[in-house]
Symmetry: C2
Subunit: 329 residues, 2 copies
């Protein structure tokens, strides 16, 4: 029996295109002692994927190589096992790849049967840890402060905003459509939301953050970055989670001048979730409590069909999703 | 009796020029209860002065106003006193101004008679606190790491490099002449120094910091900033103490792209010494010990004569000093 996978055929030049992936058919592996086989059911599509396709050797992990199955994480079921820690029938989350079946690995985590794959991918795995660690450990939020988050209708951004609200902050979201902004304010309880494709962004931000910006959770990059940066208060913190807008560029756009960093004692700090694996349990616990209390909610944008992965990724980078982008197969 | 002072007559457009200051003659004040009069003997000239002449209201302190005596700090002697905490004959350091005589203020600090004015201004006051707080509290240096410091032959930079050496780091200094570089390596014990006015700076830095850069103590800004930034290791820290090269510009040069901040989990943090006043005693103690052990030394570039203040400031911004710039009058 064979299964489908997508291999990287070439690196993108600028934007992601359909033709950088080859769909292939691979033979099912025969398990050796200690191995187990996972049938993936839900795969996450993430902005970080663009960074894994950059040919640079000094990032936090090496780029996906030409001819390799594309990297990803997802949820699946153990369908065959020679590993007693991961018996057949258990459900797992972990690094999987763009592949219907994957060999399991010891870093995978067994999922509580009462939690849905959507909840795991939206809240209780890398996405939740990214939101939680960035906001709480780097942002160090204090009640009454003002937070601005970009990519606010995305999986991490929507969680950051809700978590900040739950912690007593004023929250302003930046998103790419009026519909997304309406969702942020009406459904998620953000204090204000700004469509970055509209006009007079400086004035809109001043109105939405009348006491200035204390924490800027950066998910997107692009021209809005400097507008938010310019309205930071003294001792402001910037959490650089992602700068999607700049990943496509051979020469990424420059950042704001460091004069304000100096004169306003600002801190601009980047991170990736795996820097904070040691607080995974804390993140799960805090986010789980807020979820149970109804203080945070999640939404998935689900596309069905393994064959739709490349198109899904392109949709993600066009910002066509609201909430977590999941492909179900 | 009258005394001399310099008042600000207009804000600089770009570089500092002689004509932005007016020398004036002011009448000696009659002291009220609790006041004391200080005859200033040594005044410090500092890069931060350029930032006090910027017309912006969101910096860490308001700009000097037109018609006000120019702000500064210095050392002087109490010559008349109606304040028992500051008796006549005591020596003090504090915020003074470009003025031969100043009314004392409660924030002034009485100086141990055994310590010279030069040592106070170079090591035991704002300059020392700036070097110490930035390096130790923001940089969090670890033995064996590599530090690069710009403005390395200046008062803060030369102290940062020596302190880092004393703490077991590899230290690379960036300065503006071969002579200064020679002083850093031969006299202060830096591992390497680079004249930023020479060629092939990337290659020179790679050779001087073969294991990459862990801490970048930024005193100058300018094109060298990005060259150092690009060679930062994962989890690198950047201490933004000053960006002199950009203070003169109406539109300051942009900073490096945030992509590396994201992918390498970098931290870029600004500060001013007064954010760290609570560790003043710690700084004095640590720096004093290293000074006593001969692990750090200081050098002052002293100009004599009150009337030479404006020219001295221009010399400072041309980088014509090595070590702490002091005007003695």
């Amino acid at each position: 029996m064979n299964y489908r996978a997508f291999k990287l055929s070439k690196y993108p030049q600028g934007k992601i295109t359909m033709d950088i992936f080859d769909q292939v058919s691979l033979p099912m592996p025969a398990l050796k002692e200690g191995e187990f086989l996972v049938k993936q059911t839900h795969m996450s599509l993430d902005p970080a994927m663009r960074t894994w396709l950059q040919e640079r050797d000094d990032s936090y992990m090496p780029p996906v190589q030409i001819g390799e199955v594309m990297r990803s994480y997802g949820v699946g079921e153990v369908v065959e096992s020679l590993n007693p820690r991961f018996p057949a029938g258990s459900r797992v989350v972990g690094v999987t790849g763009w592949s219907e079946y994957v060999l399991g690995n010891e870093e995978m985590t067994i999922i509580d049967p009462s939690v849905s794959a959507e909840a795991v991918l939206s809240i209780f795995y890398i996405t939740g840890l990214t939101a939680y660690a960035g906001l709480m450990k780097i942002g160090m939020p204090k009640k009454g402060e003002t937070l601005v988050v970009t990519g606010a209708a995305g999986s991490v951004g929507s969680l950051v905003g809700q978590l900040a609200k739950a912690e007593g902050l004023r929250v302003v979201g930046i998103a790419g459509s009026d519909e997304k902004c309406k969702w942020l304010v009406d459904e998620l309880g953000f204090d204000a939301a700004i469509n970055y494709k509209s006009d007079n962004l400086e004035a809109q931000l001043s109105a939405a953050a009348p006491n200035g910006v204390d924490i800027f959770y950066e998910n997107t990059g692009g021209p809005i970055q400097e507008i938010i940066f310019n309205q930071l208060n003294r001792f402001g913190r910037v959490i650089v989670c992602g700068v999607i807008a700049d990943y496509d560029s051979a020469i990424p756009a420059k950042g704001p001048s460091w004069v304000d960093i100096n004169l306003k004692s600002l801190r601009v700090q980047g991170f990736i979730a795996t820097d904070y694996l040691e607080i995974s349990d804390e993140a799960v616990s805090v986010l789980g409590n807020y979820l149970a209390q109804g203080k945070i909610q999640y939404k998935t944008h689900t596309v069905e069909g393994f064959e739709n992965l490349p198109e899904g990724l392109m949709m993600l980078f066009k910002g066509e999703n609201t909430g977590k982008f999941v492909v179900k197969f």
